[in-house]
Symmetry: C2
Subunit: 180 residues, 2 copies
């Protein structure tokens, strides 16, 4: 069979029997993909008065700077996932602290759980998804070259909560700076 005949997986939108919402279904095998919002876990990582940022080696927003964050995996806590992402992207070991932000991004159906984390030592290095990693003071942060609005929100949430541990995480602002 040529490529146009190849099975394509769940790509047809339909309301399955007994359901009330459109779901992606596969006409080849009948599988129903119950799409759920996805969880992004990440951290604003500090070492003294410096912030750990990574420059993205992959799309989207390749070449722009971000805090370590990525898709939460199965069978981990949100805090463990945040620490894992810090290790994978910036090769730093951290202690995860309070939740800075819970950002529901409705247009892409993601919930970002961003924690405060402190480095156990100053070691850091670029992981496979990063071009470079840097420990920067607040004034050195490349504000015009940050990858996503939620990076700005989380950095500002950390700045506002310095010295506090018992505070409510913030949500996404009413007007995001830029669609993500």
């Amino acid at each position: 069979s040529d490529l146009t005949d190849a099975p394509r997986g769940p790509v047809v939108e339909r309301v399955p029997a007994g359901d009330e919402r459109l779901r992606l279904v596969c006409d080849d095998c009948g599988f129903i993909a119950y799409e759920n919002p996805k969880i992004i876990v990440g951290a604003v990582v500090t070492h003294g008065d410096r912030y750990l940022l990574a420059r993205r080696a992959i799309e989207p927003r390749k070449g722009f700077w971000t805090i370590p964050a990525g898709f939460m995996e199965l069978n981990e806590t949100a805090e463990a996932g945040a620490a894992r992402e810090v290790w994978e992207e910036a090769r730093a070991r951290v202690t995860v602290g309070p939740l800075l932000g819970v950002y529901s991004l409705t247009h892409i159906s993601q919930v970002h759980l961003i924690y405060r984390a402190e480095m156990i030592d100053a070691d850091h290095a670029a992981g496979p998804e990063s071009l470079e990693v840097a420990l920067l003071t607040w004034d050195e942060i490349p504000w015009d070259d940050l990858a996503f609005p939620s990076v700005v929100w989380a950095l500002e949430a950390q700045r506002r909560s310095v010295g506090r541990s018992d505070f409510a995480p913030e949500g996404a602002p009413e007007r995001p700076h830029r669609p993500e």
Copy 2:
């Protein structure tokens, strides 16, 4: 073809090319099901000194009492999802307040985001997934007949945070009362 030959969807565990983790793949159509943790949104709903609880009409834990909670849907905020679940299960309209708990249940790969919510009026009724709904004082809560440990955690988090709005959400206790 008989039933044993029917396509079964993604049921084979394999590490796809370019990936590093086991995923469920479909041998019929090649679809890879990237399973992600799922988000449960819910609320501890109060009206004065009373708590809104629903008795489950569906499995799991049919017949047991719960706070309104369920799977977050696409394209909604976590807060809107919590209010939606309150309406679907207990036919009450609420104002959603601060986050009481963020419970990572690693054995079932769920993250529960449980908010405090206040009823706009006293109206309530059983939705299709509830056998009955009740507004109960703290002492009337059927502690031995609650559906899930996270219901207990969230009720206790609400009790501890009464009168406060700027506080950190709690996580799951180290030793869950009972596997969920």
